[in-house]
Symmetry: C2
C-alpha cells in the first residue's frame, strides 16, 4: 500500500466494541463504531478510507474483515490503551438506546490525523465526534471536498452549540434526527428546524426520522423517504451511521450533486440501514450483496406509489 | 327533510366543545368532537349524515354551519344536559395531547340511534366511543355496509380489549395509531401489529403515524403515505378524525374498494388532515376548498418522487 491510496471517500469516526442487549438477544464486545458502520455501508458503492483509533485489545480479525471488504485502513491509528467500549440496551421501543456504560478509553484523546493520500479526496463523512475535531479535519484537507456530510448528537448540541452551528455552516449536510434538529433551534417543528438549517448555508437539509424514514428540504421542495417496513428489528445500533455511509458512498459514484441524486441516495441509505437493524453488530450487512440492496431500492418505488 | 335522507355515508361519534391550548394560542369552548371533524372532512367529497348527541348549551350556530355545509343532522339527538366538554393542551411536542378535564355530560349515556333512513347506507364511520356501542350500531344497520371504518383509543384497548378485537373483526378497517396497535398486540413492532390485524379478518390494515403519515399493509404489499410537511402546526386536535372522514368520504365516491383507491384515499386523508392542524377547531377546514385539497394531493406526488 505505498504511494497513492485509491480511496473514493474518507470516513472519520469511532471504531468501537459494543455490548448491546435487545428484546431479541445480546451481542458482547461486538464490532461497532460510527466509522465502522459508515465505511462498511459505503463499501457497497465505493472504496472508503477509514480514519479512527483502536486499542491494543482490538481483535485483528475485525481489521482483516474490513480490509478484505476493500476498506482502506491507512488512517487507523493503533493505541496501546483500550478500544472505545459502549454498553447499552433497547427495550420495547427500539427507537431509543439506553446507555449502561461508555468507556472512551483511547478514543478520549483521539485527534484524527488524515493520511496525506486522503487529503485531496472529494467526499468526506465526519462521524459523531467533538465538533471542534470535525472542523479540524476539514482544515487538514488540501482543498475543500466537493461533499462533506457530518453527524453529531444531543450531547454536543447542548454543550457546544456554537461549534455545532459552525459545523452546519462548514458541512454540506449535517444528518440530524428530528429531536436533535428541534433541540438545536429550540422549535417544536421539524420543518422550522429544517428552514433554519437552510438559512445557515445549505442548499438542502436532511433530517432522519428513525423507522419512519427521512426527509429532505430545499428552499422550494420537499422529499419524504419512507422507512422500510422491517419485520424484525433485532438491533438498531449503527443504523444512522449506515445511512450516512450509504449516502456518501452512493453520491461519490454519482457526483453530480443534483436533488434527484440526493433523493436516490436517501433511498439507498434507507435500504442499507434497514439491513443493519435486522442483525446485531454488522452481521446482516456482512450477509447481503448489492443485489439485495438494489432489490430493496426497487421495493421502495412500490411502497410510495399511488 | 321528510322521507329518504340522501346521505352517502353515516358518521357516528362525539360532538363536543373543546378548550385547547397550544404554543400558538388558545381556543375556548370551540366546536370539536370526532363526528364533527369526520363529517366536515367527509363533506368535501360526499354528503355525510351525522349521529351524535349535543346538550342544551350547544350553540345553534354550529348546527347551522354544519347544515349549510350539506351535512345531514337527522341523527343529532338533543339532550337537556350539557354538551361533552374536553379541555387539553399541547406542549413543545405537538404529537401528544395532555388532558386537563373531560366532562362527558350528556355523552356519558349516549346510545347512538341510527335514523331509519341511514340504515341501508353502504359507508359507515364509527368514531371513538365504547366498542360495545360501535358494535351495536353495526347491529342496527339493515344490511352489513360495504365499508365500515372504525376508530378507538388506548383507554378501550386497556379496559375492553376483547371488544376492541371484536371491533377489528367486524370492521373493515380500524384506524389505530402506532402506539395503539402495538399495545393491542403487546409487540414493539408496528409491522407485527399490522400482521396480527390482517390475521383477524382484514384484507388490509392501516396504521396512522401522526405527522409522519400513515401506512397500509396487505398480506403481500405495503404502502407508505408521507406526512404533509406543515410549516405551522397550530392545533392537531381532530386531525385523526379528519383523516378518517376524508378516507370514507373519498371511498364512498370511488366505491371499488381496490388497494389503489385505498392508497389515494389515504393521501386525500393526509391532505385534509394537514389543513385541520393548521388552525384551531375547524377554522382552517372552513376556509379551504376541494381545489386546495386537490393541490395538496398533487404535491404529495412530488414529495415521494425519486
Amino acid at each position: 500500500m505505498f504511494g497513492v491510496s485509491m480511496v473514493d471517500l474518507v470516513i472519520v469516526g469511532s471504531v468501537a466494541l459494543d455490548t448491546v442487549k435487545t428484546p431479541f438477544g445480546i451481542a458482547e464486545r461486538a464490532l461497532g463504531g460510527s466509522a465502522t458502520y459508515a465505511s462498511y455501508s459505503a463499501s457497497f458503492f465505493a472504496k472508503p478510507g477509514i480514519v479512527g483509533i483502536v486499542g491494543a485489545d482490538f481483535p485483528q480479525e475485525h481489521l482483516n474483515m474490513l480490509s478484505k471488504r476493500n476498506i482502506d485502513l491507512e488512517g487507523i491509528e493503533k493505541s496501546e490503551g483500550k478500544t472505545f467500549f459502549w454498553e447499552g440496551y433497547y427495550e420495547y421501543d427500539m427507537n431509543e438506546a439506553h446507555t449502561v456504560k461508555t468507556e472512551l478509553n483511547c478514543f478520549a484523546d483521539f485527534k484524527p490525523k488524515i493520511p496525506d493520500s486522503y487529503k485531496n479526496k472529494d467526499f468526506l463523512f465526519l462521524g459523531n465526534i467533538h465538533p471542534s475535531l470535525q472542523l479540524d479535519v476539514l482544515d487538514q484537507m488540501e482543498k475543500r471536498p466537493k461533499l462533506v456530510i457530518s453527524d453529531t448528537m444531543n450531547f454536543w448540541i447542548k454543550s457546544e452549540r456554537d461549534k455545532v452551528i459552525e459545523l452546519v455552516r462548514e458541512s454540506d449536510i449535517v444528518l440530524f434526527n428530528e429531536g436533535e434538529a428541534r433541540m438545536l433551534f429550540s422549535t417544536p417543528s421539524t420543518i422550522k428546524a429544517a428552514r433554519e438549517i437552510l438559512k445557515l448555508n445549505s442548499d438542502l437539509a436532511i433530517i432522519k426520522q428513525g423507522e419512519h424514514g427521512s426527509v429532505l428540504f430545499t428552499k422550494d421542495s420537499h422529499f419524504s423517504a419512507p422507512g422500510y417496513p422491517l419485520e424484525e428489528v433485532r438491533d438498531p445500533t449503527g443504523a444512522g451511521d449506515t445511512f450516512a455511509g450509504a449516502m456518501i458512498g452512493y453520491l461519490s459514484q454519482h457526483p453530480e450533486l443534483t436533488e434527484s441524486n440526493y433523493r436516490k441516495a436517501m433511498i439507498y441509505a434507507s435500504a442499507v440501514a434497514s439491513h443493519t437493524a435486522e442483525g446485531f453488530s454488522l452481521s446482516k450487512l456482512q450477509e447481503i450483496s448489492i443485489e439485495q440492496i438494489n432489490a430493496r431500492f426497487n421495493e421502495f418505488r412500490k411502497i410510495v406509489e399511488f
